[in-house]
């Protein structure tokens, strides 16, 4: 536990498993923990991807995302939805995003996840999702909790802030 204690707590339901959407929950969780907030993260559905040991598979998709403007050669470029159907486009965009992240000094997702674990953020994987997608705990990072909706609710009822991302 963090040494300071402002006696506040926060819970986050993490539902998305793309590279871009991995940021808000991990940024808020690590920052809150740094501000002495007790944090509990509940990973469900696609959010479970963020608990895999290896996170190299995380990608962004241009599909249905007209707000995604990538800086490119001094201008900004958006990707028409149809581009996403072409094999390799999402992978290429993901590589561009990762390069951008590095260039701008933005933390990587593995780095933020490590910081969350280090600062004692409680991490829970949804048991139902594991069963549903036939995922195995051996593919996930160690020392996480397994639980369900009631376990989350118990944390949420005691928390000052509850987020669904």
């Amino acid at each position: 536990m963090s040494e300071g204690d402002n006696a506040k707590s926060m819970s986050i339901i993490v539902t998305k498993g793309t590279l871009d959407w991995a940021y808000p929950p991990f940024i808020l969780a690590t920052t809150a923990a740094a501000m002495d907030v007790k944090v509990s993260m509940f990973f469900t559905f696609y959010g479970l991807q963020l608990l895999k040991k290896n996170l190299d598979h995380l990608q962004i998709s241009t599909l249905g995302n007209p707000a995604m403007e990538m800086p490119m050669m001094g201008m900004h470029m958006t990707m028409p939805n149809i581009m996403s159907a072409i094999p390799g486009v999402d992978a290429m965009c993901s590589t561009m995003m990762k390069n951008l992240i590095k260039k701008k000094g933005v933390a990587s997702i593995p780095e933020l996840r490590e910081a969350a674990i280090e600062s004692d953020v409680k991490i829970t994987a949804c048991q139902m999702t594991l069963d549903l997608f036939e995922m195995e705990t051996k593919d996930l990072i160690p020392d996480i909790n397994l639980g369900g909706a009631a376990m989350y609710m118990e944390d949420a009822l005691k928390s000052d802030i509850n987020l669904y991302i």
């Binding site: 402002n6 940024i27 740094a34 002495d36 701008k104 933005v106 933390a107």
Partner: protein, 74 residues
Amino acid sequence: MTTTLDTKGMNCPLPILKAKKAIKGLEAGETLEVLSTDPGSVKDFEAFCRSTGNELLESNEEGGVYTYMIKKSS
């Protein structure tokens, strides 16, 4: 005693995370100097110090480098 933490080139929330870690290793009353190039860190360090009770003694900017002096509370 003052310890210096260089977070130049790092972006949100890394300067805060690194600062928290560094403060953890200090004794109460000791000061941490944080260097950052992130313009967003100005408001972030103000909020961080208000919430954690550590004292922001100084906040300066010179040539794109922000310097914060944070005194650890008890």
